[in-house]
C-alpha cells in the first residue's frame, strides 16, 4: 500500500523536525527562540499523534491531540507573559 509509505515519509519528516526543534531549544541566541522552538515542538508532536492515529486506525488519539494543542497554546502564552511581566497572573 502506497499509503503506508506516505505515512512513513510523514513520520520521518515530522520526527526530523522535532529533532531540529530540540536542537533549537538547547542552542538559541535568546529566550524568544526557545519559546518559538517549544511552540513548534507542540505542533510537531500533535501531528505525530494524528499520524499515529491513522497508522493504528483508531480515533482515540484525537482527544489527546486536541488537549495537546490547548496546553501548548496556554503554555506558550504563559511563557511569553512570564518573560514580559515577570508574573503570569497578576
Amino acid at each position: 500500500m502506497i499509503l503506508n509509505y506516505a505515512l512513513d515519509f510523514a513520520f520521518l519528516c515530522f520526527g526530523l523536525g522535532l529533532a531540529m526543534n530540540l536542537y533549537r531549544v538547547f542552542r538559541a541566541p535568546g529566550v524568544t527562540d526557545r519559546i518559538l522552538a517549544l511552540d513548534t515542538m507542540v505542533i510537531n508532536v500533535l501531528t505525530l499523534i494524528v499520524l499515529y492515529g491513522i497508522r493504528t486506525r483508531s480515533g482515540v488519539n484525537f482527544e489527546a491531540a486536541l488537549l495537546f494543542a490547548m496546553t501548548g497554546f496556554v503554555s506558550t502564552v504563559a511563557y511569553c507573559k512570564f518573560v514580559l511581566r515577570g508574573d503570569i497572573i497578576e
Partner: protein
C-alpha cells in the same frame, strides 16, 4: 476508486510532511529571530492542516466514521497561531530591539506595545535584554 483515494491521501501526507520539515528547518536556518518566527507558521497551517485533512478523509472513506475532532483541532490551531505569534513577536520587540530601531508606523501614533498606558512590560524588567 480505493486506489485513487489512497493516492490523494498519500499526496496530502507527503505535502504536509514536506511543509512540516521546511518549517522546522527554517527555524534553524533563517538568520534573524523575527524571520524565524515566519517559518513554523507554514508547518502549523499547511503541514498540520493537510495531515488532519488526510486523517479525516481516511476515517471517512476506509472506516466509515466521519469524525469532527480533526476539524476542531484545525480550527483551534488556526485561531491560536496568530495569538502566539503576536506574543512571541512582542517578547522579541521588548527584549532585543531598541525602540528607535523600529520602522515608523505611518499612522501618527507610536507602536501600540510601547504605549505607556498599555505598559506591556513590567517596569522591573525593562532593562533585561537579549543580544540580537
Amino acid at each position: 476508486m480505493d486506489q485513487i483515494v489512497e493516492y490523494i491521501l498519500s499526496a496530502l501526507l507527503v505535502f504536509g510532511g514536506i511543509f512540516g520539515i521546511v518549517g522546522s528547518f527554517g527555524l534553524l536556518k533563517l538568520p534573524q529571530t523575527l524571520q524565524r518566527l515566519h517559518a513554523p507558521t507554514k508547518a502549523t497551517t499547511l503541514g498540520v492542516g493537510s495531515a488532519l485533512i488526510a486523517s479525516m478523509a481516511y476515517f471517512w472513506y476506509f472506516e466509515g466514521t466521519l469524525s469532527w475532532h480533526e476539524l476542531m483541532i484545525t480550527l483551534f490551531l488556526f485561531l491560536t497561531a496568530p495569538i502566539t505569534a503576536n506574543f512571541i513577536a512582542k517578547v522579541q520587540l521588548h527584549r532585543a530591539i531598541d525602540k528607535q530601531d523600529l520602522p515608523p508606523t505611518g499612522v501618527g501614533t507610536e507602536w501600540a506595545t510601547y504605549d505607556p498606558e498599555v505598559q506591556a512590560v513590567s517596569p522591573a524588567l525593562l532593562n533585561d535584554r537579549d543580544p540580537g
